[in-house]
């Protein structure tokens, strides 16, 4: 069995919805033991986010929830009840990491703020994920992926120049912040293990997206450099860049690199342009009218070829571009198939579904051992008894009394 880098690391997961769970799922993927603490009876609100495999009533069939919570254990616990809090404190003593994404102030109201937790366990890495951070004038503002991508991220640059700015696929900002929190937690854990002293990390959407290398951070420095206020660029901004229809869909090209245009001209059988003074040099091609002129030429070639033919050709000649696929096409893609990227994970409610593989692979080169597929997301409270009796040594009678009082 491959020794996973996070094995032996205990994570208390007080997160819900999307960003926090993506963080703890990454930690679980690489070997951490993650206890997901959920509210008795209702659990993580993501359990009720459609679409569902079933009618949604069970709280077990949400694709979002199933995706985000593989490899974790579920413990139901009422943190507002003193007995629940006592259980939590015992778990804290054995934990290496605590991750939470409540609104700022909620952990304090539960007596689980960093000061209190670090008194129980001084070496714990305590990661707080929030919309705007734990301090500052917007601390208590509300957010959504759209609102926060618009404020922090490069949404002013996303979409069509003649239309309103556009969001990306659902959940991407949340997952990005969650992944950042996993990296941050991992870095802080490295320090905590060396010194025996933990830390409290303040990670938030607004600042994480503001430092996003996807245009935003460059645009911010660029604004300092020359005053530029950026907007949405045209898809086809230079000749040879754009999205064009093919025989079976669409293909997206970027030939912003000055030396890629000749390769593209050759690929589509338009070498003659390279002899023409209107096209021969980068400066000549920078004339705005070249964009539409080239589109008119390239589109005829595109329509005669399939995405797969174009992809093979593009690789051969060294033009930068990619097919416009949908998820169905991705699932059929030969490359992902050959690399065994996708996993079939069997869940007690949904049955077997296709999940994406790991974010990175630790078993390459001469190391042939394979990291196995993930375990399915836990049913609500699935591991409550096991955790209370095995990890905390609680008697079955005490567990039953907690259950009767709806603490677990």
């Amino acid at each position: 069995m491959f020794n996973l880098p996070m094995s032996g690391v205990n994570v208390l997961d007080l997160t819900s919805n999307a960003a926090g769970p993506y963080c703890t799922r990454l930690l679980a993927d690489y070997g951490a033991s993650v206890i997901k603490v959920e509210i008795p009876n209702s659990g993580d609100p993501a359990r009720k986010v459609p679409p569902f495999f079933d009618d949604g009533e069970s709280g077990e069939g949400s694709s979002l929830f199933m995706f985000l919570n593989t490899g974790k254990q579920s413990l139901t616990l009422d943190l507002k009840d003193n007995r629940g809090l006592e259980v939590m404190k015992k778990l804290i003593i054995n934990a290496d990491i605590l991750v939470e994404n409540f609104r700022p102030g909620v952990m304090e109201s539960l007596s689980l703020d960093y000061e209190s937790v670090s008194q129980l366990n001084n070496s714990i890495v305590y990661t707080s994920i929030s919309n705007f951070g734990q301090t500052g004038p917007h601390r208590d503002w509300k957010g959504s992926d759209l609102v926060l991508y618009g404020m922090g991220g490069p949404m002013i640059n996303t979409g069509h120049p003649d239309k309103e700015p556009l969001q990306l696929a659902n959940y991407l900002p949340s997952f990005h912040v969650g992944a950042t929190a996993a990296a941050a937690t991992s870095i802080a854990l490295w320090g905590a293990e060396a010194t025996g002293e933990g830390d409290w990390l303040d990670i938030n959407f607004f600042e994480t997206l503001m430092g996003h290398i996807d245009r935003r951070s460059t645009a911010l420095l660029n604004h300092q450099y020359d005053g530029t206020i950026s907007t949405r660029p045209p898809v086809a901004g230079t000749p040879g860049s754009g999205i064009w229809p093919t025989a079976d869909g669409g293909y997206f090209f970027t030939t912003v690199l000055a030396n890629r245009f000749p390769a593209m001209a050759k690929m589509i059988g338009a070498e003659h342009l390279l002899e023409d003074p209107l096209w021969a040099t980068p400066a000549a091609r920078a004339a705005p009218e070249r964009v539409d002129e080239f589109s008119a030429i390239v589109i005829l070639w595109m329509l005669e070829h399939t995405k797969s033919e174009i992809r093979d050709e593009v690789e051969k000649v060294g033009v930068y571009g990619g097919p416009i696929n949908n998820i169905g096409e991705l699932l059929q893609d030969k490359h992902f198939e050959e690399r065994n990227f996708f996993q079939q994970i069997k869940h007690p409610v949904s049955g077997s579904l296709t999940y994406p593989g790991y974010n990175f692979r630790m078993t390459v080169g001469d190391q042939q051992e394979d990291i196995s597929d993930r375990r399915p997301a836990p049913l609500l409270g699935e591991n409550t008894d096991e955790i209370l009796s095995n990890q905390l040594g609680m008697d079955q009678s005490i567990i039953e009394s907690l259950r009767k009082a709806k603490v677990v």
Binding site: V49, T135, V147, L201, P323, F360
Partner: protein, 438 residues
């Protein structure tokens, strides 16, 4: 956060040395995050090779081209004497990093590189497979020199499989893995919806986590490791819910524009002025009541028509129109404050100026000033997350090409002054790209 009167703590990654072979965005973002927390990140560069879209798009763009706006990103729109040290594209992420130069295309350069590998903890790269083959970067070779080495490779599609030699930008990997079928204006095509570059930063974050995982593996086993972070696979993971949905329904969803899969209304609405917008997400009925009473009279005052989310989803078009009629008369920043003060999730779509003027970021000391000897003094987005134990600040501006050659060759590698001069003469050491590079 809690303040403590203690001597400053060490950054967690102090003492970790990383060789940085990264280009464009994805790889540099990984090494940016590691450098921010104390790793000594040394960019291994060459005066004989200009990696495009890294230290600028071209090595020596003309002043005219820069001023036309064709190639942006130089202080005062002036590429200067050494444009590669003045490009915003590079300077924004290369803060805290070091730069050395070596020509890896000859045996002498390879010997220097081997010395570097033996004195470093790891290497991070995100190049085409062929480029790394030419540079002599392979697990077989590096693990022989340093059996405890952590090698993180971030190629587009991975180091195996049918697409291993397929060169693309992150945005093309996104289109291939299906992202462009998942965002777009309602009823529109991908061509009319614009492009996304989200895979690069996503990959950078994964690369940083991968490197940390490699360090842990080394500590746990005493052995080095090669880790593969394929940008396309990492991004496909972030499309996870959509993959499960397809697996359940085999259905390709239609574009939803700026709407939310559950809540309504949600949208981006026009404000007063050019290219000014506000995003609003109504997550419950109470927020809706507040919004409709702020808007006041008009269509939305027919309260019963919209008093639950099902009705609001059904009448989303009419609601959007009414909200737009109201927002267009307001300043986006003022309106954001009004809405948030009323408990409504809303935010201005911020441009660069809005971001620098935002009081929250100012109060949290998000922006940090750095002085670069050839670019000047400017504010940068600061460290991406805050630590309670360490008041972590940016340490230095981006390195000029070859700026740290003396430190690397003499202090780290222990070469004599004579050897240094010989390497300089042999074309390894320098601060200018070859004249032949345009």
């Amino acid at each position: 956060m809690v303040s403590k009167d203690k001597p400053p703590k060490k950054l967690p990654l102090e003492g970790i040395r990383i060789l940085d072979f990264t280009v464009v965005w994805a790889g540099p973002f990984a090494t940016q995050l590691l450098a921010e927390w104390g790793a000594e990140v040394i960019r291994v560069e060459s005066t004989k090779f200009f990696p495009s879209t890294t230290r600028g798009t071209l090595a020596r763009p003309s002043k005219e081209l820069v001023q036309q706006g064709g190639i942006g990103g130089y202080p005062d729109k002036d590429p200067g004497h050494r444009p590669w040290n003045r490009a915003a594209l590079f300077n924004v992420h290369a803060r805290n990093k070091l730069s050395m130069t070596v020509d890896l295309t000859n045996p002498e350069g390879q010997e220097i590189f081997a010395d570097l590998v033996s004195k470093s903890d790891g290497l991070i790269e995100n190049n085409a497979i062929a480029t790394m083959e030419r540079a002599g970067v392979s697990w077989e070779k590096l693990s022989k020199i340093n059996p405890e080495f952590v090698l993180v490779r971030m190629p587009a599609f991975g180091i195996s499989g049918p697409y291993k030699s397929y060169r693309t930008f992150g945005s093309h990997m996104e289109s291939l893995v299906g992202h462009y079928s998942l965002f777009g204006y309602q009823g529109e095509t991908p061509e009319a919806s614009g492009t996304s570059l989200f895979a690069d930063p996503a990959s950078g974050v994964a690369g940083a986590l991968a490197f940390m995982s490699g360090l842990r593996h080394r500590r746990n086993t005493g052995k080095g490791i090669q880790i593969e972070t394929a940008t396309a696979e990492n991004f496909a993971n972030q499309l996870g819910p959509h993959i499960l949905n397809y697996s359940m329904e085999e259905d390709v969803p239609e574009y939803i524009g700026n709407r939310h899969p559950v809540y309504a209304p949600q949208g981006v609405y026009p404000c007063k002025g050019e290219d000014r917008w506000i995003s609003i997400t109504i997550t419950d009925d109470l927020e809706w009541q507040k919004l409709s009473s702020l808007i006041g009279s008009g269509e939305l005052s027919k309260k019963d028509d919209y008093n639950n989310v099902q009705k609001r989803r059904m009448h989303h078009d009419v609601i959007d129109e009414e909200i737009s009629k109201w927002t267009i008369n307001h300043d986006s920043i003022e309106l954001m404050n009004i809405l948030q003060n009323n408990g409504i999730p809303a935010g201005a779509v911020m441009n660069e100026k809005d971001a620098f003027e935002d009081p929250h970021l100012q109060q949290r000391n998000y922006w940090e000033e750095l002085t670069h000897p050839e670019a000047g003094t400017y504010k940068y987005p600061g460290v991406l997350w805050k630590s309670n134990a360490i008041d972590n600040k940016l340490r230095r501006a981006a390195p000029r090409l070859g700026e740290d050659n003396e430190y690397v060759y003499k202090t780290i590698l222990g070469y004599s002054n004579e050897q240094y001069e010989a390497y300089e003469k042999n074309g390894h050491i320098g601060m200018d790209y070859d004249d032949s590079i345009q």
